[in-house]
């Protein structure tokens, strides 16, 4: 598992270098230079302010997306009829290009933090809800029957039967929700924001500053891939438990 991961990173870096050599330095900053630039930028207060702006919006958005998604998923997943009614609607909602809704979010919340958070949360809430719902549906009926036999209260049933049994699939949903919320938050910053990594990307596009574009992209990719890999490992451990 470890060796292929390192190999993949190496291959991607080689690919990057290759594209750089093909497309020329104006199009794409080379990997080593980008890493060095990112390393030099990270300790500066300006860059940290951007990271903090994105980070705090993202943390809030992820919390809302997870809480909302779990609530929708648990509330509907426990009833066969509710699942059949809501699931197609959620799947359809998932296929909508959310960016088309961005102007509405901006008009409702105004430019600034609330709009970013709302736009990030919109991206993440549906996948969390879909996976939670399907996790509830896939629980072995014998577990629910046992809970009924033991006369567990609704809360006890959720806390000690449902959540543990559904956890692996819910974590899949959290992983999806996490990455989509990050994408949503950064997208939200690309228009009508005054700070944050998305704002940095957008100004860099305007100035055609490929070094900044590559450095911010690299930072986002490394962060997203890192958290996603960790969640994936956790998910595998949970699945192997049963």
């Amino acid at each position: 598992m470890k060796a292929p991961l390192a190999l993949i990173v190496l291959l991607l870096l080689l690919l990057w270098q290759g594209v750089h050599m093909l497309a020329g330095p104006d199009a794409l900053a080379p990997p080593l230079q980008t890493i060095a630039y990112l390393g030099a930028q990270l300790p500066t207060p300006e860059f940290q302010a951007h990271i903090l702006a994105t980070g705090s919006a993202f943390a809030l958005a992820v919390a809302i997306a997870i809480a909302g998604g779990l609530a929708i998923g648990l509330a509907t997943g426990l009833s066969q009829t509710a699942t059949e009614v809501v699931e197609p609607l959620l799947l359809a909602g998932n296929s909508i290009p959310k960016i088309a809704l961005y102007p509405i979010v901006l008009l409702l919340f105004g430019i600034g933090m609330p709009a970013k958070v709302a736009f990030g949360a919109i991206h993440g809430v549906i996948p969390v809800a879909i996976f939670t719902m399907s996790a509830c549906r896939n629980i072995a009926p014998v577990l629910l029957k046992s809970a009924a036999v033991m006369r567990l209260s609704r809360l006890d049933r959720i806390g000690s039967i449902l959540l543990p049994a559904a956890l692996p699939e819910i974590v899949t949903g959290l992983r999806m929700g996490f990455s989509l919320t990050l994408i949503g938050t950064v997208l939200g910053e690309m228009f009508g924001a005054q700070s944050g990594l998305g704002y940095l990307l957008m100004t860099a596009i305007g100035l055609q500053n490929t070094q900044v574009i590559m450095a911010v992209t690299l930072l986002l990719v490394v962060f997203a891939a890192g958290v996603s890999t960790a969640l994936l490992a956790y998910e595998r451990r949970l699945r192997s438990r049963t």
Binding site: I8, L28, P88, L187, M214, A225
Partner: protein, 254 residues
Amino acid sequence: MSRARRIALYQALAVAIPVLLLEVACRVGLIQPLTMPTPSSMVVGLVEILASGRINAAILKTLANVAAAFVLASVAGVALGALLHRAAPVRRLLEPLFSTYYAIPIYAFYPLFIVVFGLGDAPQVLIGFMLALVAVIVSTLNGLDSVPRVLIKTARVCRMNAVQTATQVTLPYAAPHLFTGVKLAAAYSFIGVIGAEFIMSQSGLGYEIRFAFDNLDNQVMYPLILLILVVSVTVNFTLDHWDKALRARRGAAR
């Protein structure tokens, strides 16, 4: 009333009631017209815009780009999936990449594509293609994994070569899985192309919405947003319907 009918009714209510509430909230002034016009006036506006034909070129361009991304990703995804399924070491190498792929903010590469390819159609199609491709590859691999060994052995007994086995035995068997991938590819192509148009482009539906938004032209913006919602949801429901029909014919082969 049959169960299916009742569920359809609940679904209609789940959509209709919020829309009605929105209509009321707009009419009594709870939501200012500057923020959002009434849903009914969005529909009227959309009909007028479509009838006037002034955004037909933008619609066609967006649909053409979505179609290009979708077809390219579906064909390349199935082909790459079939190849990877035969090359186990390469597959093992790429598997971690696939499982974290959708954590990567693909849009972050869009500026780069603009710098490399210019501000034409290519960067938009490429974003849609990149979003859609991996979903098709992963579904193809899952589908091919589900093919029973006896079918592959039978194909060998019949002296079929690799291409014949793939096109006549394994890929048809895996069709329901492939269709799941194709369905995702359609949604991702829409999301990728329209998102890219919105971020930066010179034409297309996403561009028109951005343009209307920058000019605070709600009379154009909201109908266009409605159009995108209607088109993407219709495509999703149609594909979903085919998917169910396909699975039902297979006796729910999974």
